[in-house]
Amino acid sequence: MHNTKNHTPPKMHKPKRRENQKFVTKKHKLQMDLFRKDWVMEADLKWIDNPEVFRVNQMEAHSDHEYYTTETTYQAGKNLLKQPLDGIWKVCYSRNASERPKNFYQEGFDSSKFDDVKVPGHLELAGYDKVHYINTMYPWEGHYFRRPTGCGMKGERKGEFSEADYNPVGSYICKFDLKEELVGKKTSIFFEGVEQAMYVWLNGIFIGYAEDSFTPSEFDITEALRKEGNTLAVEVHKRSTAAYLEDQDFFRFFGIFRSVTLYARPKAHVEDLWIRPKYHLENSTGTVDISLKLSGATGQGCVEAFIKESGKTGASAQDGIKACVVAREELGKCVEISCQMPGKVIPWDNWNPYLYEIEIRLFDGQGSLVEIVPYRFGFRKIEMRDKVLYLNGKRLILNGVNRHEWSAETGRCISKEEAAWDMECIRKNQINAVRTCHYPNQILWYYLCDENGIYMMAETNLESHGSWQKMGEVEPSWNVPGDLPEWEAAVLDRAKTNFEVFKNHTSILFWSLGNESYAGEAIRKMHAYYKEKDPGRIVHYEGVFPNRAYEDTVSEVESQMYAPPWRIREYLDNHPKKPFILCEYMHGMGNSIGGMKSYMDLLDEYEMYQGGFLWDFIDQALFATDEVTGEKALRYGGDFDDRPSDYEFSGNGMVFADRREKPAMQEVRYYYGLYR
């Protein structure tokens, strides 16, 4: 997908439109070749007002693989070319863009008056800006009248975010020296999650711009990087047009809330990896197709790929080695490898999440090792036959849960330990599936699902229910993305990034187009995108339930939420077109989860009823200090003088916000255990 021929000329601020690039912006053709950045751009504040600008100078999204340069560092699991930047940074909070320190990114800017702040983290939880919880309403409800670009209504306004008197900005500065191993190498900066729009500079040079808070944003910084005394400046805006697409029912935060890392490339590097294992049911054999995109000193040397059994979860690389040389290819920009696994393979599923491991080695022309890329994957087959979903030939039953990433201490910036606790809790309670509601999660979570046999519904970062669902009613007089051309590229880019980053995870059985965003042409194209790129997985979307016009073109499953059992019967008794899934059911607010049997019975009654995802895993509430006792207490919407709010509506977990199981969990464990 890289465009190597048509570079945008240096300092060109208004690139011409190129029609052949589908997923980049119309007005700012800013895509560049990964390692040939020979131009500089100026940042433009107006990008936050423009839904067509969401990705400036970003590298192509790619597989989330790790890489190593020596056998020793590989065995130790230590990528020496990686430099984490997490830690204490400097920050300046401004109430709006006009009050922000505009030249803070320039070299020599005195940031001594900036505050110290921990990265990653939400700025609200660091004491800047008000904590606010709200469900479907846009967070500016009752404060600003806004209508999205392109809707043709009176409320549309230029500068609605850049000129708003309330739209906070976090101006971050991070000073660092480069680790020795990274010096002189092609290097990128990788932001795993920044909410909600971000401009990046390094040593005074504009690096790029990104939206899509929940997927990685990566920029090539080679040209701007120094050995010592680097100044990274990141300007994060709380709201932008992306806010229309990120109206998830959660606490509304901003800031750099996931890790920031530098990645240097060895002289040849696997930029992207796509492993497509196929499980052949008829004889339990497996084949694997692998596509590699390489960068750096390609054209010489060679690629070797091995697949071995990595055995049970947690097995080390040495365990149960059944190595097979599957390929030895000359290095080229793109390398395709296909192989047939010897003998039978063990399929991956919830009962036995059996993983194989591929090791890809790049060698230079002299035969010296340049890079090792390992990746663990499983053989499994998800398919639809006679309107029923089967996994490895068995009818799929989803005993699932929706999961927000949540910590009562740190919000959506959760620790590895918290993620591990969640996985342990999910396993222990017989839950076999997770929907990443309603955004891509930390990369770590996808690996955990692979290792633990958890069926994933990997959701795109999209939720716009404030635009068409008002006071519980379907009211799409205006809605995004709908059919509005201005919004299409942004949502397609979100789908693309979700796919490209996570495509190798065996646990993903479903791509989900997002949550509660109604249905229109943009959504239809997202469906088509996933299906075209990845026909081996199922595409899910619930938003056709309120808009049946898209029933035949969006979502391969009939997905509904909170349908009472009778409504499911009604669908399945009347010439159903698709298998039925409840993407959300059993609303676990407070003392709830009564009547689960009526749903579980449907699994016995209807082959085409395939289960669902409970709402949801963990209460979203925050620890605060009680004004009266001085003790720690859990607080929810409205407890921060935040209005309007939906108050305790964020507390619907199977576990409390402090990760203690709710009493209802024994019921979940019982029924999910019966139908596992």
């Binding site: 519980g472 003392n591 009547g595 049997k597 009680d626 009493p663 024994q666 019921e667």
Partner: protein
């Protein structure tokens, strides 16, 4: 009648002007014509009642109750739970109904009155529209047992009930309780995962739902033993624990045992707003509304788990005082 046999086979009755006392080996109870119920339940010298127990109809709304507008339809049960009139009291001694022995009717009795069996029935009238009646009978047996029977009279036009049973408020907070029944917090529509066994609870745990609400229910219980170690009696300085046992009579019962009433729970928007825990509030229930879960914004719980207020409800349990 005169005392002829072993003391354990007989109850001693004290026909007071305002109350009816009844004593057996190790226990002493007082039924009050003034407060309209069992005013005192004293076992081995320890008082178990803070206020006269009454029928209970209301529970602190769950999020799902609120979401489906249950309170808008059934809210009158809250006031019915708080305020009720005792309209009639009946006393039966050894199976014979006697005229209510309050003053001056009681002047015909003396200091030594005994019986083999005493039954006192309190008739309550609810303040619902329309009104209905609840009768609560305490049948005292010399071996040290009170069989409590609560009868709700169904009435056409009354909205669905949150719960029905008896609420006991004890003077001090219990240190814990033991019960034989289902594990965990269970409700009629959420008990399949509960495992039968004997469970010991430390303290009176309030399930820390984000918003305090009805919680801690235990369905299908055979017996329950509440343990305390403190009293309000200024003469007592002991430290040993003492307990009271509730047993099923025929059918099992449901209960929750919390340090708060439904009103206290419902008045708090956060756990930390709940007042310091000072009492034990035990609800022994014959009917419990399910918690539901289809959604939290409109759909009522499944019909099978609602309590039809148009139908009679009758259930019994026993208080063991020996």
């Amino acid at each position: 009648m005169g005392f002829t046999g072993k003391i354990a086979d007989y109850l001693q009755l004290v026909y007071g002007d305002v109350t009816l006392g009844v004593a057996g080996e190790g226990f002493h109870c007082i039924f009050s014509y003034q407060t309209g119920g069992l005013e005192s339940l004293c076992v081995k010298g320890k008082e178990w009642l803070y206020r006269t127990p009454k029928p209970t109809f209301w529970r602190a709304l769950t999020d799902n109750d609120r979401g489906c507008g249950f309170h808008l339809k059934s809210g009158m049960w809250m006031s019915a739970d708080l305020y009720m009139d005792c309209v009639e009291i009946e006393v039966e001694v050894d199976g014979q109904k006697i005229p209510l022995p309050k003053a001056p009717e009681n002047n015909r009795f003396g200091a030594k009155e005994y019986a083999e069996k005493l039954a006192v029935t309190f008739h309550y009238e609810t303040i619902t529209v329309p009104k209905t009646e609840v009768a609560v009978t305490y049948e005292v047996i010399p071996s040290g047992k009170i069989i409590v029977t609560a009868e709700y009279k169904g009435k056409e036009g009354l909205p669905s009930l949150p719960q029905f049973g008896m609420r006991f408020i004890m003077p001090t907070k219990a240190v814990g309780y033991i019960y034989e029944g289902l594990s965990g917090e269970t409700y009629p529509d959420r008990k399949a995962g509960g495992e039968t066994g004997i469970y010991q609870m430390e303290g009176l745990p309030v399930t820390p739902y984000l918003c305090p609400q009805d919680c801690g229910m235990h369905m299908d219980t055979k017996w329950l033993e509440i343990e305390r170690e403190s009293v309000l009696d200024n003469t007592w300085t002991g430290k040993e624990r003492f307990s009271l046992k509730i047993e099923s009579v025929g059918d099992s019962f449901a209960f929750n045992c919390l340090p708060y009433t439904a009103q206290e729970l419902e008045s708090a928007t956060h756990q930390e707003e709940l007042p310091p825990a000072r009492r034990t509030v035990l609800c022994v229930l014959g009917a419990v509304r399910g918690v539901g879960g289809i959604d939290s914004w409109g759909t009522d719980i499944e019909e099978a788990y609602r309590i039809d207020a148009q139908k009679d409800i009758r259930f019994s349990f026993a208080i063991r005082m020996s």
